[in-house]
């Protein structure tokens, strides 16, 4: 069997943990990403903020290795994703926007398979699964088939599968979607804590409040192009706005809202 590469490689000193260099992605005639460049430092929680269809998910998928860029390159831990995908995958955790899971597996079976494929020690594996099941309040559902889970339970299980190996990089696509307010708050705290303890987080969201709460820096993306990058305060100052939402509307453009009110229907 093909060697799947070492789990750790020496990272260039001061190299950004995540870096997009002139990323372009075309799907036929549609340009999903146009010359996107940004970088994320170690321990930073970085948000990609954009409207629906802006290209956020496409960018994330390129970092995960699910799709290849048409041109440009994505780098994780100093290594180009294309050509080093096994190394990259060993060091990342990924939560998709709508995590569809194997419905006839039980929650335990899914985490067991994922932990084994991520080469976790069998003893640690059991402990971690038990711990995650407990904190995510899934203990009673672990032996049930995923097909019987609610949307929020699936989201929690997918989150558990993304963090079970304590990755160096977390890539999260709308992580709080489908969660009740209690677990939404819990997820946000965990994401902040991951950042504080050295895990680099790249997070997609179109919810400005969440970005404002947990991101160190954000990149505003629209129609496949990065419009601006900065800390929340930098962006608020630059666009003389009180909230990130106002910044976003000013940058992306919101039109005349009065004409779009339901009463105009």
């Amino acid at each position: 069997m093909v060697d799947e590469g070492p789990e750790t490689k020496v990272i260039r000193k001061n190299a950004p943990v995540l870096e997009a260099r002139n990323l372009v992605k075309e799907f036929g005639n549609v340009k999903a990403l146009r010359d996107v460049s940004f970088s994320v430092r170690k321990g930073e929680v970085f948000g990609l903020l954009g409207s629906n269809g802006a290209g956020k998910t496409t960018a994330l998928k390129i970092f995960v290795g699910l799709i290849r860029p048409s041109s440009g390159s994505a780098h994780v831990l100093g290594h180009r994703v294309v050509g080093n995908d096994l190394y990259v995958k060993a060091n990342i955790g990924y939560l998709p926007e709508t995590p569809t899971l194997y419905e006839t597996m039980t929650g335990y079976e899914l985490l067991d398979i994922i932990a084994t494929l991520r080469k976790l020690d069998p003893k640690k594996k059991k402990k971690k699964i038990a711990y995650l099941a407990e904190v995510l309040e899934l203990e009673n559902a672990m032996d049930q088939q995923i097909g019987t889970y609610s949307k929020g339970m699936r989201q929690k299980l997918a989150f558990a599968s993304a963090i079970i190996h304590r990755p160096k990089v977390l890539l999260l696509d709308e992580p709080t979607a489908g969660l009740d307010p209690r677990f939404s708050k819990f997820f946000k705290e965990w994401i902040r804590d991951f950042g504080r303890t050295g895990t680099t987080v790249l997070m997609n969201t179109h919810l400005t409040l969440i970005a404002e709460e947990i991101c160190d820096r954000v990149a505003i993306i629209d129609a496949g192009k990065i419009i601006d990058v900065g800390t929340i305060d930098e962006l608020k100052g630059k666009y003389t706005a009180n909230t990130l939402e106002d910044v976003f509307v000013k940058v992306v453009g919101g039109g005349d809202w009065r004409t779009l009110l339901p009463s105009s229907l």
């Binding site: 069997m1 290849r68 995958k89 006839t104 335990y108 494929l117 991520r118 599968s161």
Partner: protein, 502 residues
């Protein structure tokens, strides 16, 4: 795919002409026990179409979550359900039209190639009444009408049975018992005709048979309305509100310790995952039933044509091995080729799970291959062992069929994996299977390769036992090479697959 379509159309036309040329001679089979009537074939077509309707209704209507977008529109659910039924019906009628077109092309080809002897296979009956299947210029207009009406009935049966099957136990049992009266009537009409013909000179006339079927068709069509009016919404809501495990899915898969004894923990877990997903597919169960049915059919067929004396000795020697080979081909393609073909597509929107894990694609494909191969003993036990034993073949020939089955299994698995990776269908409502043209293409390629291997090894074995076994081993090696290439090529294509929907 358009190029493939043109190529396939040419190959099909060519195959039709070759077939026509081969059979455009008078062939007379005489046998005191042989009872092969048109009704038998028509019944067989009906059963296949019913099975297809069951699967179509399940995937495209009853379990379709996408239907919610239409259900919330101001459209009557009855109209929506009726539209779904029409989808099943049109699909069946298209197949019938294709089949009848093929028959027409064979007849025309036969006439064109050999005008003095148009297509004519005559099967003489015990009483000497003769002319039962191909009757000079092919099937009668009554038989065409029967086939079309049975396609309609099969669509109704498949649709209604699928819906009845999703009801609670009492109503399901009652509904199925009541509705089965229609099926029984069809069997009575077709089988009664057959039995009468074989046992006595009295038989119902073709138009009477068609009339009986038309009455059943009307009854079946009428049964559609109450089903969609009173049951469809209830069943659709129930089936789409959460996946319920079937009995074989409820067992715990945690205890697959034997896998870990044979493979590394990672490979064992990958195989386990593949097996869970394969077992999830109801098609597997369908395939198992099909293989059991095939086995029974082969034995039945052998009994029916036992003592075939009037065909040339060379053809006699080849007839039985050919029947067994066809059986092995069908069983292997069902159990291995088609499962391999759906192996990537069946991941559907779950594609991201494996693709984002640090697992080499070759390892994933090796696991897929092992999961398919784990189900293959059924093909050997069900098809390639019983008939050679019944026929009293020598040990060498028995071994030949078993080894050739292994070769077919490996070859078809390899080919299925390559094509499954090349043409994945991530639409979950189809169970991951690609379009019919791709399935057809795989069948043709497997037929070419499998046929070539069987002819090569079988012909050599017929001449010399030692050389024959050597040829069989070469076929095994070819199978192994195809499987290895299939795993590697499939993995390579898989690593470059970029579905937008996942």
């Amino acid at each position: 795919m358009s190029y493939w379509f043109i190529l396939l159309a040419i190959v099909t036309a060519w195959a039709s002409l070759v077939l026509a040329s081969t059979i455009s001679r008078d062939i007379t089979l005489r046998n005191s026990d042989l009872v092969v009537r048109p009704e038998t074939f028509i019944l067989f077509i009906y059963l296949i179409l019913t099975g297809k309707s069951l699967v179509d209704t399940l995937h495209k209507a009853v379990e379709s979550k996408e239907l919610v977008t239409i259900m919330v529109q101001p459209v009557s659910p009855v109209e929506v359900a009726f539209g779904k039924f029409l989808g099943v019906l049109v699909s069946n009628l298209t197949i019938v039209a294709f089949g009848l077109g093929l028959v027409a092309s064979i007849q025309l080809g036969s006439f064109w190639l050999n005008p003095s002897h148009p297509l004519s296979i005559t099967v003489e009956m015990p009483d000497g009444s003769g002319n039962l299947w191909w009757d000079g210029y092919g099937i009668t207009h009554f038989q065409i009408l029967d086939i079309i009406m049975l396609a309609v009935i099969a669509s109704c049966m498949g649709f209604v049975y699928t819906i009845l099957n999703s009801l609670d136990l009492k109503r399901r049992a009652l509904g199925i018992v009541l509705y089965s009266q229609l099926v029984t009537t069809i069997f009575v009409v077709l089988r009664w005709n057959e039995d009468l013909a074989s046992g006595s000179k009295v038989r119902i006339l073709p138009y009477q048979e068609t009339l009986a079927l038309s009455i059943i068709m009307v009854m079946a069509l009428i049964s559609i309305y109450p089903t969609i009016r009173y049951l469809f919404v209830e069943v659709w809501t129930k089936e789409t509100s959460g996946k319920k495990a079937m009995w074989f899915q409820r067992r715990s898969w945690g205890g697959l310790g034997w896998l870990e004894r044979l493979f590394s923990p990672r490979m064992a877990h990958l195989i386990k995952k593949e097996m869970i997903i394969n077992i999830q597919k109801r098609e597997i169960i369908g395939n198992i039933m099909a293989i059991i049915g095939l086995s029974v059919l082969l034995i039945w067929g052998w009994q029916k044509i036992e003592g075939l004396k009037d065909i040339p000795v060379r053809a006699q020697a080849l007839a039985y091995p050919a029947i067994i080979s066809v059986g092995i081909y069908l069983a292997s393609i069902l159990q291995c080729g088609f499962i391999g073909l759906g192996s990537v597509g069946k991941e559907g929107r779950k594609f991201w799970v494996l693709k984002t894990l640090p697992v080499h694609p070759e390892r994933i494909f090796t696991a897929k291959a092992w999961a398919i191969l784990a189900l293959s003993p059924l093909t050997i036990i069900g098809v390639s062992i019983p008939l050679p034993i019944i026929l009293g073949y020598s040990l060498v020939w028995k071994l030949f069929f078993v080894l050739m089955t292994v070769a077919m299994i490996m070859t078809f698995t390899g080919l299925g994996l390559i094509m499954g990776a090349r043409y994945p269908n991530f639409n979950e409502s189809t169970g991951g299977m690609p379009d019919i043209m791709t399935m057809y293409l795989l069948m043709l390629i497997c037929l070419g390769m499998g046929g070539g291997m069987f002819v090569f090894a079988g012909y050599t074995l017929n001449s010399d036992a030692v050389a024959g076994m050597l040829a069989t081993v070469i076929c095994l090696e070819i199978g192994f090479i195809v499987l290895t290439v299939g795993i590697r090529a499939g993995a390579f294509i898989y690593s470059r697959t970029e579905p937008r929907s996942v």
